[in-house]
């Protein structure tokens, strides 16, 4: 059974515990800020979506400014920031939607 990593949430580096590889998608202005539509990241198994966002926020400070207006999704469902991630998950950071 996978155990939650004891690594800090801001760290994506895991020395001892199991890791998970997740696919990350960016849309709209987030895609422009990060400079890519898609990424693949390894993080401690069970790390929350928040940790993944912090990872990108650290390298793209402008991204962090949008945190309050964003919603995250995991496997095509809106997900809480505390949702734990596991290998094969697809996470997306979604700006306010403006279809129609």
């Amino acid at each position: 059974m996978a155990r939650h990593s004891s690594a800090g949430y801001n760290s994506l580096v895991s020395l001892s515990s199991q890791t998970a590889r997740v696919k990350v998608l960016f849309f709209g202005r987030l895609k422009e800020i990060v400079g890519q539509a898609e990424d693949s990241v390894e993080l401690p198994d069970g790390a929350p979506i928040e940790a993944l966002f912090s990872h990108y926020g650290a390298s793209h400070p402008e991204l962090a400014r949008f945190r309050a207006s964003l919603v995250a999704s995991r496997n095509q469902e809106f997900a809480a920031w505390s949702t734990p991630l596991h290998s094969g998950d697809e996470v997306a950071f979604l700006p306010p939607v403006s279809g129609g």
Binding site: P95, P96, S98
Partner: protein
């Protein structure tokens, strides 16, 4: 001859498209002998936004999730309203002024259900379907102000404010 009240088993038509939306096809899809009403919503590209002249729009979507969310809307309106069928198409890519970006057609035996369901469908789509539009003006471009979709409640206990 006995009138059959069996509703057609044809599924709802739900799509993301890159070419112009064929409105007549969507209306034809939902309309059947047992229907007394078809209500449609035609969302089209306006030539102005916040007092500026819009040149064109560019739509992008998280396609797999957008389709899943559109399917959820169809399912919801079947549960909430006495409708027969629904067709929803949203267009992606560059759209010129006057073009249709989203088209919804709902059929029902009696008109109130189709009106209510069509209104619910477009209002919900604008809140929950991951699609974004960028507005292009003569002097630049901006991502349109949107709505933050309803997020699930956080399960982790919030840290004390101190």
């Amino acid at each position: 001859m006995r009138l059959s009240m069996t509703k057609s088993s044809q599924p709802d038509l739900l799509a993301l498209v890159r070419d112009p939306i064929d409105q007549a096809a969507l209306i034809g899809h939902v309309r059947a002998a047992e229907d007394g009403a078809v209500v449609t919503f035609d969302g089209c590209v306006r030539n102005h936004s916040h007092g500026r002249r819009t040149l064109y729009l560019d739509y992008e979507a998280y396609e797999s999730m957008a389709l899943a969310k559109i399917r959820e809307i169809a399912q919801q309106i079947h549960e909430k309203f006495a409708i027969h069928q629904v067709a929803i198409a949203h267009r992606l890519g560059r759209l010129e002024i006057g073009e249709t970006s989203v088209f919804i057609a709902v059929s029902s035996a009696h008109r109130p259900a189709a009106f209510d369901a069509c209104r619910f469908a477009i209002d919900t789509l604008k809140r929950t379907v991951p699609i974004w539009k960028k507005e292009y003006f003569e002097d630049g471009a901006v991502w349109a102000d949107g709505e933050k979709p309803p997020a699930p409640l956080e399960t982790r206990t919030a840290k004390p404010a101190s």
